[in-house]
């Protein structure tokens, strides 16, 4: 009975959301900003969930997310910039002949290949990041807590330095960055409009991570988080599971990085600085460390309030001809920081704690409210 009710509710919400997104895709012109904010939120939701897998579920305090995102973003961008734009993009130093040759060859392949090529590019970026994570992981995963955080942060900065170094000019275009990156591709031969692609890719990835967390591997990750020695005594290999979590987390961070490159259309090394990792960590902490639904919810809330709801505070405000002094560009970030502190003070373990969203919990809360109101009467 209750299970049936919950499935119906979930289905109903899913239908409404999909309908809303479809409606938006047909009225994109008028809702440009909303669409763009939702897309960005979805991409950040994926990075936040990938970070939560590592920090929240496996208990590895890693701050390397931005580095892996940049690997995904650069790989995707290099693979997707159209051949005709190569000279324009690499106008300073030219492009490596090998990359050009590969791209010229790929451009001759039939249409069905061109349709899936953007997704192949995303996957290749993610795989490259996974390989880097496996190699780096051998060295750094022996470290604990703060030391691991410093090491991964350092690694992320090294990746960024490499991307912007002059030696990489012909590949990453060094400090000039890459532009003319094509936008999201449509799915299923145009059946699903391009605008919806990031949502679908993100939904598939997050579902995969959810299933992983619910599997026995996920339980082993949590055991390691709770007590390494006890986990090891149960026969759970620490090295293997930590590496697995690190590699999978990096894979999805890089995939989100690739999506971000498509979203922004142009990237540079600076995009992936420490402050990006900080933004993601913020989303994870606000949502609740150890809650996938918390990370998703918080990604949408944080992005929307930063980019949209609080814009109002950046505009000059006139009340009866008197211009309120504080309302200037940048004021919204102050309001945002204050809001963050309030949220953290009220919800000490993030919006969701380490719980997942459930209808029973949500409806239970309403019921309790009603009861207490009744009690007052």
């Amino acid at each position: 009975m209750r299970i049936k009710r919950n499935t119906i509710l979930t289905l109903a919400v899913a239908v409404v959301l999909v309908g809303l997104l479809y409606w938006l895709s047909f009225n994109q012109a008028k809702n440009g900003m909303l669409v763009s904010i939702l897309q960005k939120s979805a991409i950040f939701a994926l990075v936040a969930v990938s970070m939560n897998l590592l920090n929240g579920f496996t208990g590895l305090f890693s701050l390397g997310q931005a580095g892996f995102m940049s690997i995904g973003a650069y790989t995707t961008a290099i693979l997707l910039i159209p051949v005709k734009n190569l000279d324009g993009v690499y106008y300073m130093n030219g492009v490596s002949p090998f990359i050009r040759a590969v791209k010229v060859y790929l451009a001759t392949l039939p249409d069905w290949f061109q349709a899936i090529y953007p997704f192949i590019a995303l996957l290749l970026g993610a795989l490259l990041a996974a390989i880097v994570a496996a190699l780096v992981g051998i060295a750094v995963l022996r470290l604990k807590s703060d030391y691991l955080a410093i090491a991964t942060l350092g690694m992320s900065e090294i990746i960024r330095a490499i991307c912007s170094s002059p030696q990489m000019d012909k590949i990453t275009n060094g400090s000039y960055g890459l532009n003319k990156i094509p936008n999201f591709p449509p799915l299923l031969g145009g059946l699903i409009p391009a605008m919806l692609t990031p949502f679908i890719v993100v939904a598939i990835c997050i579902t995969f991570i959810m299933l992983l967390i619910r599997s026995s591997y996920g339980r082993a990750f949590k055991a390691i988080r709770e007590d390494e020695i006890a986990a090891e005594a149960m026969g759970i290999s620490l090295v293997k599971h930590k590496a697995m979590s690190f590699v999978i987390s990096s894979f999805f961070a890089a995939l989100a990085g690739g999506l971000l490159a498509m979203y922004m259309r142009s990237i540079e090394a600076k995009t992936f600085s420490i402050s990006l990792t900080y933004d993601i960590l913020l989303i994870v902490v606000i949502g609740g460390i150890g809650s996938v639904s918390g990370s998703v919810l918080s990604a949408f809330l944080v992005t929307a309030s930063k980019e949209w709801w609080l814009r109002f505070f950046d505009q000059p405000l006139n009340i009866l001809g008197w211009q309120v002094p504080l309302f200037r560009t940048g004021f919204r970030m102050i309001i945002f920081s204050v809001l963050l502190m309030v949220v953290v003070l009220v919800y000490r373990r993030g919006l969701m704690g380490s719980n997942e969203f459930s209808w029973d919990r949500l409806l239970g809360r309403f019921k309790r409210k009603k009861l207490s109101e009744g009690g007052v009467k």
Binding site: D227, A233, G235, I236
Partner: protein, 237 residues
């Protein structure tokens, strides 16, 4: 030949010698206890058997095959499990999740029947299967730690001070369950401060003193030994 044979085992932490060449054996289907004062090296012995710490020298044989140098995972697969000192349940996971983690390396098919058996031994765990392990009482946590170990289909179960910090009545309950487990065919290696109960339960006992074995005998012999009565059973001369 014993199920578990330890020869001249030496373990050092950095420069400190914790075990200075101990030898003992555990026969199949027996309950064997290792008693000794704080810091004698009892927990170190169990950690070394589980492969959780490297050994300096000596041999550990299980069924005649060498155990030392193997990964803990391989050792658990052979049917040896540890109920660690201080219980070490996973506090933010539910009782049921804790139990399932005990069966991590086991065939999925064995989970249900083993769970049923653990719930028969500890009906309390069944009642509280949804509860976060960290919120269980000390006694319940100890039951969970033992139950979790039983989920791994052990042939040899090693328990590190299962009676630590428990009320006398709960201690009695735990020990009667240890006997039950043993009657089901599981060999038990038991470490205890509570020498009285341990020696009454055990077939064989060894006394460990600062890294060496100072005395051995059947449970009854040790229980009646004058030196032990003075040192471990709190009898005044």
């Amino acid at each position: 030949m014993s199920l578990l044979e330890i020869h001249d085992l030496k373990v050092c932490y950095g420069g400190i010698v914790a075990l200075n060449g101990i030898s003992f054996g555990v026969n199949e289907h027996e309950i064997v206890t290792l008693i000794g004062a704080n810091g004698a090296g009892k927990s170190t012995t169990l950690r070394a058997i589980m492969g959780l710490i490297p050994i300096t020298s000596g041999t550990i044989l299980y069924n005649g095959e060498r155990l030392h140098g193997l990964d803990t995972q391989k050792i658990v697969e052979k049917g040896i499990v540890l109920v660690p000192e201080g219980r070490r349940v996973f506090p933010n996971l539910t009782t049921l999740e804790n139990l399932k983690l005990g069966a991590y390396l086991q065939d999925k098919k064995t989970v249900e029947p083993n769970l049923k058996r653990v719930y028969e031994l500890f009906p309390r765990l069944k009642e509280r299967h949804w509860q976060q392990a960290g919120t269980l009482s000390g006694g319940e946590q100890q039951m969970l730690a033992v139950g979790r170990a039983l989920m791994a289909n052990p042939k040899l179960i090693m328990m590190d001070e299962p009676s630590l910090g428990l009320a006398p009545l709960v201690v009695k309950e735990i020990f009667s369950i240890i006997k039950k487990i043993n009657e089901d065919g599981v060999t038990v290696l038991l470490i205890e401060q509570n020498a009285n109960v341990a020696l009454k339960t055990a077939n064989h006992g060894y006394v460990l003193e600062t890294g060496t074995i100072s005395m051995t005998g059947t449970g009854r012999e040790l229980l009646e030994n004058e030196a032990i009565r003075v040192a471990y059973l709190g009898k005044t001369r």
